[in-house]
């Protein structure tokens, strides 16, 4: 079984809830547990929020969210054409945030990494970032 959906969102914070609910609804055809769905919703919310706050710095931009289902495996890509990440290792550090003034906790990537089975971050400064995350529904 293979299925795919692609969302294009304006980088507005009101779209964070839409993105995670839409992806959760799409994934629900695999009949995941409540906990699996909660984990996926949180991971999507973190990735989309990163695009809005960091990639586009709360300015206008487009966020692309793709979700692919292949057998029991869910792959979610969240991509932006924003400023990019200079130091990915530092961005992944728990509690590191480039925006402490916004009361950000610096836990976004740590949460994605622990709630999903796999996380990959690709970024080019000035071009954008793609976060790919995978989770197998048991």
């Amino acid at each position: 079984m293979e299925n795919k959906v692609k969302l294009e969102l304006m980088s507005k914070s009101s779209n964070e809830a839409f993105a995670r609910i839409a992806i959760a609804a799409f994934v629900s055809q695999l009949d995941p547990t409540i906990e699996e769905i909660a984990d996926i919703k949180t991971a999507v919310s973190e990735a989309v929020t990163n695009c809005i706050i960091h990639a586009y710095e709360e300015k206008e931009g487009i966020i692309y969210v793709t979700c692919i289902l292949k057998n029991r495996e869910v792959t979610i890509e969240v991509q932006d054409n924003g400023i990019g990440i200079e130091n990915i290792d530092m961005a992944k550090e728990p509690l590191y945030t480039s925006k402490p003034e916004l009361e950000r906790s610096g836990m976004g990537f740590t949460i994605i990494d622990s709630f999903m089975d796999e996380m990959k971050i690709e970024s080019i400064v000035g071009m954008g970032t793609k976060v790919t995350m995978k989770k197998t529904i048991k």
Partner: protein, 101 residues
């Protein structure tokens, strides 16, 4: 948000009634800060019974209020925290600073 203040015990109870993310924290933060400044409570309880979703935006929001209340000499606790929300607090170590009942 449902806010209750007990004058005798100087207890402020804040029941958050929506999902907590980067979008909603701005509004929640503004309401909470206003209430805290108005009452200067001795004790504040955040009721999470109606919070079905929270991402990492909630960590910063709660820790920010915690710092503020501690500075004013009050204590903080959280109640009715659902397992998916608790997981986020535990991962970030917030449960070691703020009591979850």
């Amino acid at each position: 948000m449902n806010i209750k203040y007990d004058e005798v015990d100087k207890l402020l109870t804040c029941q958050i009634t929506e999902e907590i993310d980067h979008h909603t924290t701005e509004k929640i933060r503004r309401i909470l800060d206003d209430e805290i400044e108005r009452y200067i409570p001795k004790r504040i309880v955040f009721d999470f019974d109606k919070v079905s979703f929270m991402d990492s935006a909630g960590i910063g929001m709660i820790l920010g209020r915690y710092k503020m209340i501690r500075m004013l000499g009050g204590s903080v606790e959280m109640i009715n925290v659902k397992s998916n929300v608790r997981k986020i607090f535990e991962m970030s170590g917030v449960h070691k600073i703020i009591q979850i009942n």
